[in-house]
């Protein structure tokens, strides 16, 4: 029976990769760049949120509760409530941000959260004007 010389020798070409640069990054010293459009945590510009609850209505996972914020941010917010997200239920589909009439609710590109307290997964979106720009 003839020996398949190519079949024996060609896999050995993998040895060449020993001399290549590694493709992995040394996390956490080097962090991966996450693009701006990534669907991560919610942010909400509370000065423009009108408390209409469209976001709560469209969310098929019942992940949004409308709650009273500690202070009044927008006098045009007739219900006086803003959305709070349950990250035990959210699937980051972004439908809530699509339907938001004043476009105040958005998804940030920050997406890491670790906490031993389950209550902290009931998340109040940060008060941002837009992605990456925090309201002081």
């Amino acid at each position: 029976m003839a020996i398949d010389v190519k079949g024996v020798l060609s896999p050995l070409s993998a040895i060449g990769t020993l001399f290549e640069h590694p493709k992995t990054i040394t996390y956490p010293a080097v962090k991966k760049d996450i693009p701006l459009g990534y669907r991560g945590f919610h942010i909400n510009n509370l000065e423009t949120c009108i408390g209409c609850a469209s976001c709560e209505e469209v969310c098929m996972n019942d992940a949004i509760d409308m709650v009273h914020p500690d202070i009044e941010y927008n006098i045009k917010n007739t219900s006086g409530c803003v959305p709070r997200i349950d990250y035990g239920r959210c699937c980051w589909c972004s439908l809530c941000t699509d339907v938001c009439p004043p476009d105040s609710l958005k998804l940030d590109n920050i997406c890491t959260h670790a906490d031993s307290n389950p209550d902290n997964f009931l998340y109040m979106p940060k008060n941002h004007k837009s992605i990456g720009e925090e309201v002081s």
Binding site: P11, V58, C91
Partner: protein
């Protein structure tokens, strides 16, 4: 046969087993190392997608269909979007069609890399999965940029797509295709031409063309035994009739033939993507205006759509009843027939060590069985 079965021992291959293609198990009756009977079991992952979509509005149901196949969500999104568009008469722009075709081909490449890892891992070639999963991740990086998600893209929407292409996206895709072309040569040397893979895969898991026709097997199982059929050519959708590509086939019908078909399909996907990059219109609506989600109603009608996924034809039947909810949605993917009718038959008289390899070559995805 009766005597054989009396002396067998029973082994469950899965659901907790690295060689199983997801949450399912195969119950094997073994005589020594030889399989005398194989029985597929599912039920470890009941998600009931078809029933879930009946309780949601069209807009809400859209977020769930991508979960029907984790490694390959986009053909499901495409089918869902196209079925709703057929029912409501929504016309999508040429640009949206090109983007959706591009996403489907990007997904095909990503799925093939994941398959390659599973296929090589199933015979102990541990280096290939490390490489191919890394190469797939480069595609997921592009998906992350385009859609906002790595795995569940939730991007193709009835009426078009949800976002426009980011700045410079097509040139980054083109660079990745250059890289993939080089990588496929490397995989050819280390995996497809590898004598270990050939010795293990040639002559194992043979499917013949008559069985394919009788049982409606699809994808590489069908093309691996010489049947040149592909939904993209036979019932062209989106922009496939404007693109030049071939349907690779092999004639032996075994695990190795199916692997070669997949390799050649990767090259064809690269060819298609290069044409899309050239032809992509710069202008055009991304998403047609659609009614608000409580007002988005499906007429009392039904439709049937098909998309060629990386594992074979994926079909949806959808019926509306005049309300904002879907009356019925039926999903038909490659997994059910491949995991039951085909796998159970192929494994009889094969070796225990071949189970994972044969299963991997069939493109089985359990959530699609328990849809």
């Amino acid at each position: 046969m009766k005597n054989d079965l009396e002396n067998t021992i029973k082994i469950f291959h899965g659901p907790q087993h690295p060689g199983i293609t997801g949450n399912m198990s195969v119950e094997l009756d073994l005589l020594g190392e030889t399989i005398k009977r194989a029985q597929t079991h599912v039920g470890y992952l009941h998600r009931g997608f078809e029933k879930l979509v009946e309780r949601r509005t069209v807009v809400q149901a859209f977020t769930i269909v991508c979960r029907i196949c984790v490694p390959e969500p986009d053909p499901n999104e495409e089918n869902f979007a196209r079925a709703v568009e057929n029912l409501t008469g929504l016309e999508i722009s040429e640009k949206a069609k090109y983007i959706r075709t591009m996403v489907l081909e990007m997904q095909r490449l990503a799925t093939m890399f994941l398959w390659m890892g599973g296929q090589a891992g199933s015979i102990g070639l541990g280096l290939i999965p490390q490489w191919s999963v890394c190469d797939r991740d480069y595609m997921l990086d592009l998906f992350e940029e385009l859609t906002g998600g790595r795995v569940y893209h939730m991007y193709a929407f009835p009426g078009g797509v949800r976002r426009d292409l980011p700045e410079g996206f097509l040139s980054r895709l083109s660079d990745l295709l250059d890289y993939y072309e080089k990588r496929i040569i490397v995989y050819n040397n280390t995996f497809f031409d590898n004598i270990i893979f050939k010795k293990r895969a040639i002559g194992v898991g043979i499917v013949n063309a008559d069985d394919v026709i009788k049982n409606a097997y699809v994808g590489q199982v069908m093309r691996g035994c010489g049947i040149k059929k592909d939904v993209r050519k036979d019932m062209p959708y989106l922009m496939y009739d404007k693109l030049d590509f071939d349907i690779p086939v092999q004639s032996d019908g075994d695990v190795y033939a199916r692997a070669l078909v997949r390799r050649d399909e990767m090259l064809q996907s690269i060819k298609i993507l290069r044409q899309i990059i050239k032809q992509m219109p710069s202008e055009g609506d991304i998403l047609q205006k659609i009614p608000k989600h409580r007002k988005f109603k499906l007429p009392a009608d039904d439709t049937y759509v098909q998309t060629e996924s990386a594992r074979g034809a994926m079909s949806y039947y959808m019926a509306g009843d005049g309300s904002e909810k879907i009356r019925r949605m039926q999903v038909r993917g490659p997994s059910l027939v491949h995991a039951y009718t085909l796998l159970e038959k192929l494994l009889v008289d094969s070796q225990l060590s071949d189970v994972a390899m044969t299963m991997n070559s069939l493109g089985i995805c359990p959530p699609e069985i328990e849809r």
